[in-house]
């Protein structure tokens, strides 16, 4: 049983869409229920399912993504490379991404080795990556052994860690990269435009 009239459904669906569009963070069902004006979670889920169905259609370039009970719109993977350069903000900051890349390449990698390579800030990166479920940690003596997770593979659309190594092996040699990339800085912050990448095969 739903606590709403069928006739409200369209209105509420539109409201949820507007909320998901505007929010810079994924939204919990509780929060969405509050925005709708105190609806039940089952009702929110019904609305989310409808939105999910709607945006699954091929004519849509974005889709509903639900992770850990939180919902957000995201660009469909098929289109992200062609439009990534438009967004100044990434959902993983550059410094954290660099730590993640090192973990993925060495999979597994000890936290101690990561810190040696990336500096003390890597402790924070590990924390963030653990929270996002992109890596997991196992104790090994006095340090941690870091692995990437299935969620990592899903996020990047990879079938295995080896596939990432394969991608890296594929890299054009460094001098060539340098011309595109302004400069490899000691990554203090992810600074908007630097984070974006022009993809020319768009």
């Amino acid at each position: 049983m739903y606590d709403r009239q069928e006739s409200d459904l369209e209105h509420d669906q539109a409201l949820v869409e507007a909320a998901l569009f505007l929010s810079p963070e994924p939204l919990t069902r509780h929060k969405l229920a509050r925005i709708i004006g105190g609806a039940s979670l089952a009702y929110v889920e019904r609305i989310l399912a409808q939105i999910e169905d709607e945006f699954r259609l091929d004519a849509h370039g974005i889709e509903l993504h639900v992770e850990d009970g939180k919902s957000m719109f995201q660009v469909k993977r098929a289109y992200i490379d062609a439009v990534a350069h438009l967004a100044p903000h990434q959902d993983i900051s550059r410094p954290v991404l660099r730590s993640l890349a090192m973990i993925a390449y060495n999979h597994p990698l000890t936290q101690a080795d990561l810190v040696k390579a990336r500096g003390n800030k890597a402790y924070k990166h590990v924390q963030e990556l653990l929270e996002r479920g992109l890596i997991r940690a196992e104790e090994q003596g006095r340090t941690l052994l870091l692995y990437v997770t299935d969620e990592f593979l899903r996020y990047f659309g990879l079938s295995s860690v080896e596939e990432f190594r394969f991608h890296v092996g594929d890299l054009p040699e460094e001098p060539q990269q340098d011309t595109q990339e302004q400069e490899v800085t000691e990554d203090t912050e992810d600074r908007g435009e630097e984070a974006s990448q022009e993809v020319d095969d768009g």
Binding site: F21, L22, P24, Q74, V75, R77, I80, D81, V83, A84, L86, A87, H89, Q90, D91, I92, R94, L97, R98, S99, L100, A101, M102, A104, Y105, A117, R118, G119, Y155, F156, G157, L158, F164, H167, V168, L171, E174, Q177, E181, V184, E186, D187, Q197, V199
Partner: protein, 249 residues
């Protein structure tokens, strides 16, 4: 602006009020059946003056209210004369307000909208980003390693350049440093390590640090460091410890 008051009422409070509300607030300490018109007129004039001072718009209605109060005030002062018809005054006031409102052209207000709702869209990172991040991380890591190796080398060089531990020069330097410390301590219980420095650069700090440690180890001086990497206070041993705890030498 926040500190300004009229009859002890903050002006910011009065600004929130309608014109009737203002009159009410300004007479709050008066007997409602015996309003002191003279005092009220006075307060209201203060209020209008304050607005003028603060560059606030003084609308026709405020001026009118003020003038009516002043007329009432003069009625009261000239108690013998026939008082002005107050309802006539109110009518006049209302008419003026309407006229003022009719003449005024409202500025455009973006309908409903306060300000555009800006978004901060975030995109997923791609495998390209990850690849690029890896290359960048490797470069930085390599540079970091090189810098580290360089530092170790430099530090080793420094050690051999600056310290000839056990050599005659070092003993001489210790002696002159001890003399310097004793001079600086004259009239003081403790001195800061930094008082010893002349140039203050890293080399000098390291050099003095080792010499100070050496003197402390010999029991010539006592040192205290409250916090890690903080300042070191230097004193003569008798200042630092109870006499019986002093080194024997």
């Amino acid at each position: 602006m926040d500190g300004l008051t009229i009859a002890e009422i903050p002006i910011t409070d009065l600004l929130e009020e309608t014109w009737e509300g203002i009159l009410q607030r300004l007479t709050v300490d008066m007997d409602p059946w015996d309003i002191d018109i003279v005092e009220l007129a006075h307060r209201y004039r203060d209020y209008v003056d304050a607005l003028r001072e603060l560059h606030f718009e003084i609308s026709g209605r405020m001026v009118l209210t003020c003038s009516i109060l002043l007329r009432m005030q003069s009625d009261d002062l000239l108690a013998s004369a026939r008082p002005t018809d107050r309802s006539e005054l109110i009518d006049e006031l209302e008419g003026a307000i309407e006229e003022e409102a009719a003449q005024w052209e409202a500025p455009e207000e973006p309908e409903e909208f306060a300000l555009p709702l800006f978004r901060r869209p975030r995109r997923q990172v791609t495998i390209f980003d990850l690849r690029r991040a890896f290359t960048a991380a490797m470069k930085v890591s390599f540079r970091r390693g090189k810098r580290h190796a360089q530092r170790v080398e430099e530090e080793e060089d420094d050690l051999f350049d600056d310290f000839e531990l056990g050599g005659p020069d070092f003993g001489q330097r210790l002696h002159s440093l001890f003399t310097k410390i004793k001079n600086l301590l004259r009239g003081h219980r403790v001195i800061s390590f930094f008082r010893l420095l002349e140039r203050g650069d890293k080399d000098e700090r390291v050099s003095y640090f080792f010499e100070v440690l050496h003197l402390a180890a010999q029991g010539e001086i006592a040192c205290q460091q409250e916090e890690f990497l903080g300042d070191i206070t230097i004193m003569l041993p008798q200042e630092a410890l109870p006499r019986e705890a002093l080194p024997q030498e």
